[in-house]
């Protein structure tokens, strides 16, 4: 992938995430932060997919910086982490997996159904695992540097 391709992916994932942020009534001043969270996760996902073929692995690796960024934004901007996490995770959610599973199921391709179904569940599991890993890190790592304050929620 060229640099321009990455820029394109950044642009599209940013606006896709912002659109969902608007739909979930995120306060307007947090739109950019939401978009950046989603774009960061997606760019890492795309880069991982270039390096190796496993969507599960790519999802797991991509959700790490995504969650870290969401935590950082939450602490810095004094907003619930839910805002950034919910919107940011959208590009990685296995919507395509759900669709293909249904498609193969309906068209009677049982083997394909099993493959896609299992993959979808694995991706969901990978997202869960990655999120838990980062959420479990000590909150000190995500404190702003300039002043001490009450712990993040």
């Amino acid at each position: 992938m060229t640099f321009v391709d990455y820029l394109y992916q950044l642009f599209v994932s940013f606006w896709g995430t912002v659109a969902f942020g608007i739909l979930f009534h995120v306060p307007p001043k947090q739109y950019v932060a939401c978009g950046l969270t989603g774009a960061a996760g997606w760019l890492v996902y795309v880069a991982m997919m270039q390096a190796q073929p496993s969507t599960v692995m790519a999802s797991l690796v991509a959700v790490l910086p995504l969650t870290a960024l969401a935590r950082l934004f939450a602490t810095r901007r004094k907003a619930p982490i839910t805002l950034f996490l919910l919107c940011g995770i959208f590009p990685l959610v296995p919507g395509a997996g759900i669709y293909y599973t249904a498609y193969y199921f309906i068209t009677g391709q049982t083997t394909q159904t099993m493959i896609k179904g299992t993959e979808t569940i694995k991706i969901a599991g990978a997202l869960a695992l990655g999120m838990v890993l980062v959420l479990g890190m000590p909150s000190k790592l995500f404190q702003p540097f300039h002043k001490a304050q009450e712990p993040t929620k």
């Binding site: 839910t82 919507g95 669709y99």
Partner: protein
């Protein structure tokens, strides 16, 4: 002793707003405890589930119990969660009179949802960008945009008539699949899969899944399980909706989409 009953009332109201608008159990519980502590409540205990809050507080050694069950959240409003969060920060720092806090909560409850045209635009744009993201081309972008617009109109009406959630997702998925199919038959679309995947994104249980994980992480296993099952059922209903239309098209109409 009027004051102490108000503390309980305040905490429960704040918790209710959070829960209704899609906050995770841990946040609801923590916020309520912070508020109660800030106003000097004694023996304040609270237990929160995805669809209910149970709180109690001692008053002159007598236990007063407030129980509250609310409807499973209809729509996610992260702005309201953010506002309650800000309020609880202020309360924790002190200097917020109880009356003011009640007024603020009332104001938060009244924060409007976006107008239908704006929601349609957001839903359409979200669908369209995700169609691109998953490898669609510009024709798919426009088809998914149209599908997203129509989907939001349906979701808006379904919400207004309090339609069953499973039916809503199923019909919504069927609707966007039909739109995608029509686009393909008209020769407008480029790749039907991408259009469908893009425009089912507003229905996909991303929120339920994320919240389930958050709840599990905070050891709220019961609430996490409820949300996980929620995610599973939403996923199944979307799959059924998509499948029903595809099956109908190929079996009854004889169109291979």
């Amino acid at each position: 002793m009027q004051k102490k009953r108000s503390v309980l009332e305040l905490a429960v109201q704040a918790g209710e707003i959070l829960l209704e608008n899609g906050a995770e159990v841990f946040r609801v519980q923590q916020t309520m405890e912070i508020m109660a502590a800030a106003y000097g409540a004694e023996e304040f205990h609270v237990y929160v589930l995805t669809n209910g809050i149970f709180a109690s507080m001692a008053e002159d050694g007598v236990n007063h119990v407030a129980r509250l069950e609310n409807v499973p959240q209809a729509s996610v409003h992260l702005g309201r969660i953010d506002s309650v969060n800000t309020l609880s920060r202020k309360i924790a720092q002190g200097n917020v009179p109880m009356e003011e806090a009640f007024e603020e909560l009332e104001r938060i409850r009244m924060i409007p949802v976006l107008s239908l045209p704006l929601q349609m635009l957001a839903c359409g744009a979200g669908s369209a960008f995700f169609a691109l993201l998953f490898g669609g081309k510009w024709p798919d972008f426009f088809c998914a945009f149209v599908a997203g617009l129509l989907l939001q109109v349906y979701l808006w009406n379904a919400d207004k008539h309090k339609t069953n959630k499973i039916i809503t997702r199923l019909v919504g998925a069927a609707l966007v699949t039909a739109v995608a199919g029509v686009c393909m038959l008209l020769g407008v679309g480029n790749d039907m899969d991408k259009i469908i995947i893009g425009s089912i994104m507003p229905l996909v249980p991303g929120i339920a899944l994320t919240m389930a994980i958050r709840d599990f992480f905070n050891s709220d296993y019961l609430s996490g399980t409820i949300r996980m099952i929620d995610a599973l059922i939403i996923g199944l209903s979307i799959a059924t909706g998509v499948g029903a239309v595809l099956g109908f098209a190929s079996m009854v109409l004889g169109v291979q989409l």
